[in-house]
């Protein structure tokens, strides 16, 4: 091939070639849209890249309990097809909540690996297998090398991999600033829930920070937590108000 003339087709072919060397066979990689145009338009490709590694952590106390991060991951996994592997670190995940985020209990295979090294190895195994819809792992430390392996495994098999970062102490959460090979990095923090006209607790709201995004830029979103199908929603008072009524209020005595 000649590269004497700098015509656009030649550059395109070169770009294509580089992309193929990088391991992306098809120019358009499949994505999983959130169904919220504000987020989808921000992300390259129009949604969360499938066949890629994503990192999620909680903000504030969420860095330790990892509750919102786990539900955010469950919501993504719920919208994929096929079984889901979840390598749990501390066995305190409450399955009914995961089911309420849309991820049916019959789809999830849980695994307690014991230590982080095994967890990462098992997550890689799950990503490499190719039959899974998503593979999730609770991990506190994620090195560049480890994440690179996971990212490659996810790319080859086309499975979405989610690492839920969770630490023992607040101070350790500074580790989240270290670079990894993950395609996106999210931080989910709790916000006061939607106000209800009666006493009670409304649908949870999250401050969703896209801290890092390959081939994109970071952004903040304010969303309502996963519904029964794992979908997020924009605040009703930010979008239109019609959504507010559907998430019913709960009577005080049940």
């Amino acid at each position: 091939m000649s590269i004497t003339s700098a015509n656009p087709t030649a550059i395109d072919t070169l770009r294509d070639k580089i992309r193929r060397i990088e391991g992306h066979d098809s120019p358009q990689r499949p994505v999983l849209p959130f169904g919220i145009s504000a987020i989808d338009n921000w992300l390259p490709g129009g949604g969360l890249a499938l066949g890629a590694l994503h990192e999620v952590a909680g903000g504030g106390n969420g860095a330790i309990d990892g509750a919102a991060a786990a539900l955010f991951a469950a919501g993504i996994a719920a919208r994929t097809k096929g079984p889901v592997l979840w390598c749990v670190g501390r066995p305190d995940l409450f399955a009914p909540a995961i089911a309420q985020a849309g991820l049916k209990s019959s789809r999830v295979i849980y695994m307690e690996a014991g230590d982080e090294k095994t967890t990462l190895a098992c997550l890689e195994e799950g990503l490499r297998h190719g039959g899974l819809g998503a593979a999730i792992a609770d991990v506190s430390k994620l090195t560049m090398t480890a994440s690179r392996r996971l990212q490659l495994a996810a790319e080859t098999a086309g499975t979405v991999g989610i690492v839920v970062r969770r630490w023992r102490r607040q101070a350790e959460a500074a580790d989240f600033g270290q670079p990894t090979a993950a395609v996106t990095r999210w931080r989910v923090s709790a916000l006061p829930s939607a106000p209800l006209p009666v006493p009670g607790v409304g649908r949870a709201r999250w401050h969703l920070e896209l801290l890092r995004c390959r081939a994109g830029s970071s952004a903040d979103f304010y969303v309502e937590a996963c519904d029964a199908k794992g979908r997020l929603a924009l605040f009703a008072d930010l979008a239109d108000r019609s959504g507010a009524a559907e998430d019913g209020r709960r009577s005080a005595t049940g």
Binding site: A67, A68, L93, S105, S106
Partner: protein, 487 residues
């Protein structure tokens, strides 16, 4: 014997020929209580116990039965099992005990399985075959685990008959005044060997652990196996992997002929120094896929210590089940379910069977009881947890005591202190009342928990409950606990 069997309380002995005499080969509990013992002349036994039931012993059938028992143990407990005639089996539990929850648990499980199929057995676990043999017969009531390195002490006090020596030698030793194993150990070895032959020294060393003993694995024609003998011992992991691949191909061909798939595979590597290194892998479903089985076995190569080299490699399909070709779904509309059994196998062999599971709903209002673990490939049940109340993403294993200020009987707290941090409750929902399950335990007859979902000013939400209904002290202590964290 079925219906023809005599009553359990009738004394029963088995009679066999010993040279020209007819002697008692075996006696049951009732007969032993009546004073009969093995080796006694049949006529004497008959004279001692009126109404004694005597039957002819069938040593060949006994041996067959023992072999069958050994094969059962091979399939269920450990890759190296042998019959230890006339009345025992020996299991090499190295690396197998932890799969059954530890050594004691393994023996307990083994004995309960045996007793449920009508065997009265005793079991002992020790460093050596000799020690375990002696302890199982003379000490274990019904089971005994000797810690590693303590076998020599444990056997010291046992009678000479525990040493697996010929009857004449034991009788002669007794005549010389030796009573226990310790008496023999205290003596200088050379004169003993001079008089009784090297067998005595060997048995002593085997019992105390000074000498190793190879357990010749029980074999059965029904087990499909593939074997490779090496002219030169091999040791490099790559070489082992190469031959594992070859053996798997041969094994899969043999399995295919019988339309079987392997559920459990043992790879036995005989080392030049007369030790056997074993790798056991299990599969969730019958498998005959060369690639998959090779993968599972090669994953474990690092656990094989080749020592000075491996001279024989044997691959056995210990548990095999029918595997017929199946039709895949080819309909246009129906979606094929992704097959994850290969992944599950890989993970199970890496971290253990108990640590991979699916969670299924249990019809219980008590949160910690509403989830049960099932095998990852267990048939899927429809239905999920009720969705009427939101549940926290994280559930603390032990609810933690919190300090609160709350109006009784059914108001949520105004504030609470958890792990030293005081939080003001901005919003709350509840109570959701959970009653104790009186059919499970008596103290739960009146127990009540009132669950509240509370949100603090920062939007962090917690699942807290009050033990008791807020009125009647019998229903609980009225203290508050934090049980879960919402997302």
């Amino acid at each position: 014997m079925g219906d023809a069997a005599p009553l359990a309380e009738t004394p029963l002995v088995l009679i066999g020929r010993h040279g020209r005499r007819r002697v008692v080969l075996a006696a049951d509990h009732a007969a032993e209580k009546a004073g009969l013992h093995v080796g006694m002349p049949a006529t004497k036994a008959q004279a001692l116990v009126p109404g004694l039931v005597m039957m002819d012993g069938d040593p060949a059938a006994d041996e067959d039965a023992l072999e069958r028992l050994a094969i059962w143990a091979l399939k269920n407990y450990s890759p190296i099992v042998a019959a230890d005639p006339p009345d025992g089996i020996v299991i090499d539990a190295t690396g197998a005990a932890h799969l059954h929850g530890g050594e004691e648990a393994m023996l307990g499980h083994l004995l309960s399985r045996l007793s449920s199929s009508g065997f009265l057995a005793t079991a002992a676990m020790a460093d050596t075959w000799g020690a375990a043999h002696a302890l199982a017969r003379y000490v274990a009531r019904p089971s005994l685990v000797v810690p590693a390195g303590k076998s020599a002490e444990a056997v010291a006090g046992l009678p000479l008959a525990s040493l697996r020596l010929p009857g004449e030698t034991v009788a002669e030793l007794r005549r010389l005044g030796f009573k226990s194993v310790k008496d023999l150990l205290d003596q200088p070895r050379a004169p003993l060997v001079l008089r009784f032959g090297s067998d005595l020294g060997r048995r002593l060393d085997q019992a105390t652990g000074a000498q190793r003993e190879l357990i010749e694995r029980v074999r059965s024609p029904e087990l499909v196996e593939a074997k490779q003998v090496f002219a030169e011992p091999i040791g490099a992991p790559e070489t082992i992997a190469k031959y594992v691949g070859k053996l798997v191909v041969i094994l899969c061909q043999a399995l295919e002929q019988q339309a079987l798939g392997a559920r459990r595979l043992d790879l036995l590597c005989h080392r030049v120094d007369n030790r056997i290194e074993v790798v056991r892998v299990g599969m969730a479903t019958p498998v005959r896929d060369v690639k998959r089985l090779t993968r599972l076995l090669t994953d474990k190569i690092e656990t094989i210590d080749p020592g000075f080299g491996i001279e024989i490699m044997i691959l056995v399909a210990v548990v095999a089940e029918p595997l017929e070709p199946k039709q895949r779904i080819s309909s246009l509309v129906q979606e094929t379910e992704a097959d994850v059994s290969s992944l599950v196998d890989v993970l199970v062999n890496r971290v253990g069977e108990r640590r991979i599971y699916r969670l299924e709903p249990v019809a219980s209002d008590v949160p910690e009881r509403s989830v049960k673990r099932v095998a990852p490939l267990a048939p899927k049940t429809e239905g999920d947890w009720p969705t009427s109340w939101p549940r926290p993403a994280r559930l603390l294993a032990n609810p933690e005591l919190i300090e609160t200020l709350a109006l009784l009987p059914d108001h949520p707290p105004v504030w609470f202190t958890w792990r030293g941090v005081r939080r003001r409750v901005a919003r709350a929902d509840g109570p959701e009342r959970v009653f104790g399950e009186w059919w499970k335990a008596d103290p739960e007859l009146e127990a009540v928990r009132d669950y509240f979902q509370v949100e603090d000013e920062n939007g962090e939400r917690y699942w807290i409950y009050r033990a008791g209904d807020g009125v009647d002290p019998a229903t609980g202590s009225h203290r508050w606990f934090l049980h879960g964290i919402y997302a």
